[in-house]
C-alpha cells in the first residue's frame, strides 16, 4: 500500500492505495464521492469522466497513484460556490438532457471540458466531442441541445422539446 495525496474539489485528501487501485475506485470507495460512476470496464462509456489538472480524464484509465499530487475535480465540485447548479448543469435540466442520470456526471464533465476550449461549439463538434460518452436514455438529442444552449446559442429552431 502506498500513500497518495491529491486535491479533490478544492480539498486536500490522502489515502493508502494498492498499485492497482484505479482513480475512480479511490474517489468512490475511499472518498465516498459516488457521483462519479462506472459503466464499463474498457474505458468506453465515459461515466467516470473527471478533470485531472484541468484535463478531461476517464478515471477508470488512471491509477490513483498516477494522480498523486494532482488537482482533481468531480461532478460534486461542478456547482457554483453558493451551492446552486452551474449554467451547464442548469441547462441540462432546462432542456431535459438526462433521464436515468447515470451517464450524466460524465456528460457534464466532458461538456464543460469542451466549452473551456471551444466556447461556441457547433452541433457536429459537440457530437464529436461526446464520442467517448455513451448515453442509453436520451438519444443524445437533448444533451447536444443543452450544451448548445449553455454556450449561449439559440436552440429554439431545434425540433421539439
Amino acid at each position: 500500500m502506498t500513500k497518495v495525496t491529491m486535491t479533490v474539489n478544492g480539498k486536500s485528501v490522502s489515502g493508502e492505495v494498492e498499485g492497482r487501485t484505479l482513480l475512480v475506485d479511490f474517489l468512490r470507495d475511499a472518498q465516498r464521492l459516488t457521483g462519479t460512476h462506472v459503466g464499463c470496464d474498457t474505458s468506453q462509456c465515459g461515466a467516470c469522466t473527471v478533470h485531472v489538472d484541468g484535463l478531461q480524464v476517464k478515471s477508470c484509465t488512471m491509477f490513483a497513484l498516477e494522480a498523486d499530487g494532482a488537482t482533481v475535480t468531480t461532478i460534486e465540485g461542478m456547482g457554483n460556490a453558493d451551492g446552486t447548479m452551474s449554467a451547464l448543469q442548469a441547462s441540462f435540466q432546462e432542456h431535459h438532457g438526462l433521464q436515468c442520470g447515470f451517464c450524466t456526471p460524465g456528460m457534464i464533465m466532458a461538456a464543460s471540458s469542451l466549452l473551456k476550449v471551444n466556447p461556441k461549439p457547433t452541433e457536429a463538434e459537440i457530437r464529436h466531442h461526446l464520442e467517448g460518452n455513451i448515453c442509453r436514455c436520451t438519444g443524445y438529442h437533448n444533451i447536444v441541445k443543452a450544451i448548445m444552449a449553455a454556450s449561449g446559442q439559440d436552440v429554439s429552431a431545434i425540433a421539439a422539446e
Binding site: 494498492e18 492497482r20 465516498r32 464521492l33 459516488t34 457521483g35 462519479t36 460512476h37 462506472v38 459503466g39 464499463c40 470496464d41 474498457t42 468506453q44 462509456c45 461515466a47 468531480t74 461532478i75 460534486e76 461542478m78 456547482g79 447548479m85 448543469q89 441540462f92 435540466q93 432546462e94 431535459h96 438526462l98 433521464q99 436515468c100 442520470g101 447515470f102 451517464c103 450524466t104 456526471p105 457534464i108 452541433e123 457536429a124 459537440i126 457530437r127 464529436h128 461526446l130 464520442e131 460518452n133 455513451i134 448515453c135 442509453r136 436514455c137 436520451t138 438519444g139 443524445y140 438529442h141 437533448n142 444533451i143 447536444v144 441541445k145 431545434i158 425540433a159 421539439a160 422539446e161
Partner: protein, 787 residues
Amino acid sequence: MPKDHGIGASPKRREDVRFLTGKGQYTDDINLHGQTYVHFLRSDVAHGIIKSIDTSAAENMPGVVRIFTGADFEGVGGLPCGWQITDRHGQPMQEPGHPVLARGKVRHVGDPIAAIIAETKEQARDAAEAIELDIEELPAVVDMVSALAPDAPKVHDELTSNLCYDWGFVEENKAAVDEAFEKAAHVTTLELINNRLVANPMEPRVAVGDYNQANDESTLYTTSQNPHVIRLLMGAFVLGIPEHKLRVVAPDVGGGFGTKIFHYAEEAFVTFASRQIRRPVKWTSTRSEAFMSDAHGRDHKTKIELALDADNNFMAIRTDTYANMGAYLSTFAPSVPTWLHGTLMAGNYKTPLIYVNVKAVFTNTVPVDAYRGAGRPEATFQLERLVDKAARELGVDPIALRRQNFITQFPYATPVAVEYDTGDYIATMDRMEEIMDLSGFEARRKASEAKGKWRGLGVNCYIEACGIAPSNLVGQLGARAGLYDAATVRVNATGSISVMVGAHSHGQGHETTFPQVIAEMIGIDESQVDIVHGDSSKIPFGMGTYGSRSLAVCGSAMVRAAEKVIRKAKKIAAHLLEASEADIELKDGKFSVAGTDKECAWGDVTLAAYVPHNYPLEDIEPGLEETAFYDPANFTYPSGAYACEVEVDPETGKVTIEKFAAADDFGNVVNPMIVEGQVHGGIAQGIGQALLEAAVYDENGQLQSASYMDYAMPRADDVPFYIVDHSCCTPCTHNPLGVKGCGEAGAIGSPPAVVNAVIDALASGGKNVPHIDMPLTPHRVWKAINQ
C-alpha cells in the same frame, strides 16, 4: 398557449438536481457496515459437465470469508419462470430448472459456478483465480434451427429436445389462412433475422443482501424495475422468505429497458449468502459480466408472407418464427415471442386472416427476455418490411398501400385476439408527411446525388399494446401473476401529499409527472406532492415499470386513490361548511358550497382530518389516506407513423441518418417534454438495432461481442436531431387519464423505417436489393451493393 402546470405542462424534472450534482443514490453507492464483496466465477465454456470444483486453495487466500458452489443450494429453489405457454397441441411448454449456481452442467458462457465472498472485491477476484475447475466441454448448440435437429446436443438432458414450445396462433385460423394464400393474386415473402441485442442500461446490475439477525429480516438492495415482483419471486419461489421478513429496495436505477425486470441469480445469492454469513454481501457487475449475464433481447428468425388480392388489399398473413430462449427461461421470456408478438401481427391493417407460428428454442447462450418493446418491435419490423417489399414488387407507393389497408373503424377486433379501442392511423400518417417535409424529398435526393451519395426514404407505421395488462386475460394466457398496480395517496395534516406508487422510475421522470396529475386533480401546487417509489417496505404493492405501463396502470391506481381521498375530503368540507356533501365543489385547492360564497381551503380540511375537534367522527374516521389497486380493462394501443431519410455512400456502404421524424398518438400526454425525451431515446435504440448493434456468438457459443469495444452502442455522432410530434391524440377509452404509454414506441417504430430507407437508397442507385439483415453495417451494405 402551453400550460404552465398540471396535466399537459412540462415542468422541469425535480429528480434532475440530484443527478446533475452527483447526489443520486444508486445501488452501488450503498455501502453497509461490515459489508463483504462477492465475485462470481463464471463458465468460460458454453456447454459442459462440471467434473469437480476444488476451492481449497482459494479458501486460504487473504480476505476470503466463504466460497459457495451449487452444492450449497441443496433444498433451495431455482429461479422461477413467470409465464407458461401452452403449445399448438395443448401441452405446456418444456420448463427446465434454473439453479442459482450451476449444478452438474454449465449451459452458457457466463453461467455462475461458484461465488467467492471476501473482505474486498479485489480479494474475491484474486481468490476466484485459485479455484481449480474441471469442466468437460460438450458440443454447444447456438443456431436455433440446428438446435432442433434430432441429433443436436441437448441443453437440458431432462427435456425431450431443445424445443421449449411450438405455438400456433390462432390455430383454428390456420386452414383458412392457407386457403387465402392459395387464392391470392400476389404473395410477398420475406425471410429475416431480428438481431440479438443487449439492453445495456448504463448502470450495470448491482445487488446488496443484508440480513438482520435481530428481527430475522432480509433486505435486498437491487437495480430493479419492479422491487415487489422480485420480493414475490425470490421470497416465495427461491428462498422461502415470507413477505414480512423480506424487504426489496430499488433506489435510483440507472436505466432498465426491460433487462432489469427479471429476477436474477445474483439477487437470490446475496440475500441467501447474507443469511448464511450474517454480514452484508455486495455484488457489482462489471460491464463484461453484464454482457454474459443480463438477459438479452430479440433474436428471432422469421419467414413472413403476405397474401394480397388483385386490388392490393391485404388478405392474409402467415409467419413462421424461431425465437431464442437461451439456456434457461428468464422471468417473462416465454411471453415475448407469443402474446407480446403474435397479438400484434395485425399492425395497423385490416388483414382478415392471420396465422403466427413460433418455435421457442433452447440454446447454449445467455437467456433472452424482454427488451424495450419486447415482441412488438419484432412484429412491427417483419410486418413493415414486408409491406414495403410488397409495394416494391407491385410497383405501388408504399404509403398509398399502407393507407389503403389501414384500419379506420374503432373499436376494431383483430383476428389475433386483441381489440384496439382507439386510433387514427390516417392522421398520424398525414402528420408524419408534414413534419418530415416529404414533399421536399426528391429535391433532397438530388442534392445527395450531386455529392455522390444515394438517398433513400423509409416509412412505416406501428401499433403496440401497452398498459400491461388485464389480469384475468393474462391469467388465461399463462401469466403466473396479476398485472394490476397500486398506489397510496397519503395526505398529511398540512395538506402536503406523499404518493406511494408501485411503478418504479429509472429515467422516466415519475417524480415529476405523477405529482402533475395529483396537483391538477386537487388544484394545489405540484411542489406539495412527492412520490415514494422503489421500496417494498414503504409501498403497499406494485408490479413495477415495463411495457409502457406506469402511467396507464399505476397512474390510474393513483387517480382512483386520489378520487377516494377527494370524496372523503368533501365529506369533511361539508361538515366544516355546514352544507350538504352533494353541494361541495373542489376547485383550485378550495372547497366551496355551490351557489354560495362559503369556502374553505384544502389545508383546512386536511388539518381537520388530523385534528378532528370539529369533525363528523360518527360518520368517518380521522386521517386522510387511501389506497387503490387498478386492474386495466384492456391494453392501450399507441400508434404512429415514422420516417427516415438516409444517405448511403456507395463506395463504402456507410449509412448516415439524415432526417428522422416520428408522429405518435399516445392519447393524452401529461408532460410533453418527458414524452418527447422517451421517444428520442427509443429512436436511438432503434437506430442502434438497425445500423450498429448485434450480440454475436461463434459456433462454440463464445460471445464475440462482450464489451463496448465489440458491441457498437449508438454514440452522439451516429444519430441526428429527431423531429417528434404527438399532436395526434385519440385518448385511451378505458383508463381515467386517457393515456396510452410512450416508453417503447421509438424502439418499435424506428428499425423498419431505417432499413426501408436503406433499401430505397440502394434502389435509387440502381441496386434492387430485396432485404439486408440488421445491423446494416457498412460491410453488409457494401456487399449488398456489390453482389
